[in-house]
Amino acid sequence: MSARRMTILAPEGMLGYGIPPRSMAEGMRRNPDALAVDAGSTDPGPYYLGAGLPFTNRRAFKRDLSMILEAAQARRIPVLIGSAGGGGGTPHLEWTLDVYQEICRERGYRFRTAVIGAEVDKDWIKAQIARGRTSPLDLDTPLRAAEVDRSTRIVAQMGYEPFMRALDMDAKVVIAGRAYDPAPIGALPMRAGFDRALVIHMGKILECGGAAAYPRHGSDSLLGFIEEDAFIVEPPNPDKVCTVASVAAHTLYEKADPYLLHLPGGAIDLTRTTFEQISARQVRVRGTRYVKAPQYTLKLEGVRRVGYRTLAIAGVRDPVLISQIDAYLENIRTRVAETYPDGYRLIFHVYGRDGVMGRLEQVKEIRSHEVGLVIEVVADDPDTSAAVLALARSAGLHVTYPGRKAIAGNLAFPFSPSDIKAGEAYEFNVHHLVVVDDPLELFPIEIIES
């Protein structure tokens, strides 16, 4: 490579959230060497990983992916996608491939394509538990074999190595399962030998697309230019700017500690990082250092199904009822328990009191003239869930309370039907690290022609 500079365009922070066409066009005018985008997160909660479904809309996802593939086809540059389909498990990868192949068929594109799996075999994990190779992350509880068995799906976040291997195999499009978010963005420059810490740090900023530029609204693109001893970030959208404040503040985003950011195999240390405004719209970053971990670890993410959810939404306007809402809700709970003693969870979300903050709420009194109520039931099977919710809803409507004037009904339901089947309910139950000998070992790479 002659010119030691490489340009990466992240068209957006989440594949399917909407690429602004002007940002894409401006970004392409800067002749990027690759298009790279993160497509996943645990942020939307445990459901999507468990159910094997994406959290983005298919039509929006197809539109964005079409824009990316069109640009890649025109310029003959690689496309790298991480955490395909959101959760990055096998069904998510299949969903992404289905959309991808549909686009290629419709438009006559042919790319040499690498597909990288990230779903982890339960027996393999249990073997690692037995070898003492797993450890908890942000939790106190070690991983147990029984918990692995209870999981619906477990994925591992791949690092840079599988992406680099796919590029070695001459892939032009890389569609990967669950991945460390910055890995698709940095794989090409890391393979070209650019400074590891800077590549990682640049990816940490680009993985959220235009989020590191102000004004911070809407899904948008971001350009990264990596050089020998620095990288530069710039929004292709001419109405936005990267400032030292916007870029530095983004380093905080969703991180527990902004000075030390962990990744598979190591961490980057930002204690000596400098952020420098080099033009009205560009920030140069340097000084970030790489710290190699003593052992190469991967993050495991898993969910278990906790049952089937049914819910009803209602409002209360009566001040006599609002003044004794706790006793009223306990009364409903008691009535339900007379018919269904156990085998379910009945949860009341009281908006206007602590519906938003739950146990963290310190304001105990209700200050509103009305209160919103979400009645939620989770049970082992859908029929039990529906039956318990139906009883809780009718008891809620009709139970009496001291001083009651409104004897015709206690709740205002905005919808008919009032009872909403919300399907399977999941929770995260695996959030652990596992030691591996080979960064590639959990991530099979398959080459297909699109």
């Binding site: 645990t42 030292v244 530095a248 905080l252 000075y259 903050m357 739950g358 146990r359 963290l360 995260f428």
Partner: protein, 111 residues
């Protein structure tokens, strides 16, 4: 009359909350400029006991309070009482847990 007090929301440019993974919440206070940030740091107004009190947590659930000079920011990371999206949880993204911090008042004379 006692010393003047201002809320963190009045002093800072941004006060936000968000998940840092499914089991942690992270709160960021970003100040508008270096002078305001340095002045706030000098107050030493935030410690684990104070933060825990704002959220009804135990001090050991407040894991880190980090001053991040490049962004003129203070970051606080705490354990979630319930993991994101688990039964009984109320804020999957953790994006609306900032208010007790934003409304927390500290000694602050307007200059």
């Amino acid at each position: 009359m006692g010393p003047m007090r201002r809320t963190i929301g009045e002093i800072a440019a941004f006060v936000t909350s968000k998940n840092a993974g499914p089991f942690l919440l992270t709160l960021d206070i970003v100040f508008p400029d270096r002078a305001t940030y340095e002045r706030f740091k000098a107050l030493k107004a935030l410690d684990r006991v104070t933060i825990a009190g704002l959220y009804g947590l135990m001090a050991e659930d407040v894991l880190k309070i980090i001053e991040f000079d490049p962004a003129y920011a203070v970051k606080i990371t705490m354990r979630r009482p319930i993991g994101s999206g688990a039964l009984g949880e109320s804020d999957v993204y953790g994006a609306q847990q900032h208010v007790p911090l934003m409304e927390h008042a500290v000694a602050w004379e307007d200059t």
